[in-house]
Amino acid sequence: IGKEQISNDKPNQSVESITVSAAVSLKDAFTEIGELYKAKTGRTVDFNFGASGALQQQIESGAPVDVFASAGEKQMTALAEKNLLTAGSRKDFARNSLVLIVPKTSEVRIVSFSDLADPALKKIAVGNPKTVPAGQYAAEVLEKGGLQEKLHDKLIFAENVRQVMDYVVRGEVDAGIVYSTDARQAGSEVNVAATADEASHSPILYPIAVIAGAKHPDAAQEFIDLVMSSEGQAILQKYGFISPGKSQ
Amino acid sequence: MLTIDVKKSFHKQHDRLFHLDLSFSVNAGFTVLTGPSGAGKTSLLRMIAGIIAPDEGVIELGSTVYFDSERRIDMQIQQRNVGFVFQDYALFPHMTATQNIAFGVRASASADRRVKAEEMLSLFHIEHIADRLPHEMSGGEQQRVALARALSCEPRIALLDEPLSAVDIETRSKLLDEIESAQDRAKIPFIYVTHNEAEATRLGTNRIYIRDGRVAAAEIA
């Protein structure tokens, strides 16, 4: 056995690139961090952006991934339960908050989540709670506010936050619930009507971890370290993410 | 009265393969068209029917102008009202003998069309194949269905391209009787292509012999 195996596992020797699977909502921030990583280590990062659930399934089937950054804890926990994470490498690297957005042209006055019950609002888009982390958090908010029942017939489930944005931007729905980072990116195309109380949903944490059996575990860890570093955090904040430790 | 005066060339890329230059006129009644294989008989019938257009010239049936290159007239096939027996029959493969014949009958009620078709089947001695599809018929049976189909659409001119070449002598003679009586009733021009001297002699009020795309001899009554 051994020799080649061992020398293969030795860090830095022939490592030229690592593969990072990350939630597609992290694309802009991570791309920038990836450039920083390259400047610092000389190694490139191959990003594989997709829906967190799909990324999870790829890893479960043995896709050659070094680092996984998820938009929801559920997917990361599922991998942990299957012993697919390198022990001790999991960290929360960012937080997000949930906002209620309405079309720019909206004539209904909405200032809080409870206004969603207003009969003038016919359709409200949220992520599908079963598949989209943002939808899960939105469901918690509605549940807490006792709105779930009242809104039952108004809810439109989207398969990603982007779809919620599209619906709101195009005025197909009267309101939608998305992450603040998304609302921020959309800029003036939508109006943010309210921000969800942090207490009304479980913390929106973005976990990251090294995958068990990663080809380049040390280089992978270095990437995570960079994300956690002040430089990395600064980049994330530039795109609207909140540091995991701080509150809003 | 059918008047023909046409020129037509077949080309392939830049070679002229064949040139037709025909002019004659015949009256209602039989006109037997003979000539060696490849002389242009079928091509002539196709021009009369409107399937191919002459390069230039005139085709007139009575007072109806089928084609006139100068006046830019080229009547559509479906308005020319010809009864065409194709050399290769062209029976509709998805229709039975009765359906093939009934297809062309000009009657609005489908029962009427059926009755007429059955009448034609018995005139041509093929009642027994009424419900068969073309691929279930013998060559001569197919040919008779094609003949029946062409004559039952009440045409203003009948174009028969070797219509009895695939039947035996006995049947042929019976069918010729039927063809003659059909012409007798309709009083329209019957252009009859054949290689068979006996048929030619029997029908030949008018005879046109073409060769290499030209009228080489004509006896017109």
């Binding site: 079963k130 598949t131 489930f157 779809q163 195009r170 | 062209a90 509709f92 189909r149």
Partner: protein
């Protein structure tokens, strides 16, 4: 739940296949039998939904037919109704993505019909339309049938564009593929498998059945 999704799926697919059948044959006729300026462009345009990711097609549909869409806003003004988030929207999505399949398959078979038969029909005094319906179509039946099966199957599996325009409302617009996707994406493997097996069984049954029918119809 499964039953709801299945019922809806079958309903949507039947509507869309019927529409695609008629529109597909009409377009095939146009493309195969007539010539006009921009024919190739029309052809390419009709093939587009095959190339675009369905989500993009769905996005274009929203832009066109949504409540504020280019066409949709007129509809909404006139009727107060819009395609967005309705089963009709799902039908439109299914039609758009499956029409190209129907057109390509039926056009090829219509063009393969020996024109001698059409000519014979013309000499018997039949016009273009009657000839097409009674001669060309029956002779092109295999290709047309193949096109219908393709369109049916594609509509049954349609998902990306449907999701965009019809949303994913259980019992209202959630078709089988949407339910399967939801189960797979939420990691509910068991449910996903049950649904996939049901969809597979239904489609295998449908295809099996149509094969049998076609055999009797063609070889009778």
């Amino acid at each position: 739940m499964i039953f709801d999704a299945l019922k809806l799926s079958l309903f949507v697919v039947c509507c869309s296949t019927a529409i695609v059948g008629i529109a597909g044959v009409a377009f095939s006729y146009l493309l195969a039998k007539s010539s006009f300026r921009g024919k190739d462009l029309l052809d390419a345009f009709l093939t587009m939904p095959l190339v675009l990711p369905p989500t993009v097609t769905g996005y274009y549909l929203i832009v066109l037919l949504g409540r504020r869409g280019i066409l949709g806003s007129y509809i909404y003004e006139l009727t107060g109704w819009s395609f967005a988030f309705t089963w009709e929207g799902a039908v439109v999505a299914a039609v758009v993505v499956s029409l190209p399949l129907m057109i390509k398959a039926s056009r090829a078979s219509i063009e393969s019909v020996n024109t001698d038969y059409e000519t014979a029909s013309y000499t018997l005094g039949k016009g273009k339309l009657e000839t097409f319906l009674r001669i060309t179509l029956p002779l092109a039946r295999r290709g047309i049938f193949a096109g219908l099966v393709l369109a049916f199957a594609r509509a049954l599996g349609e998902f990306g564009a449907t999701l965009m325009i019809a949303g994913n409302i259980p019992g209202k617009t959630q078709t089988m593929p949407l339910a399967i996707y939801e189960a797979v994406a939420s990691g509910d493997d068991h449910r996903a498998q049950v649904l996939a097996v049901v969809l597979t069984a239904v489609s295998i049954a449908a295809i099996y059945l149509t094969n049998k029918i076609s055999r009797t119809a063609f070889y009778g």
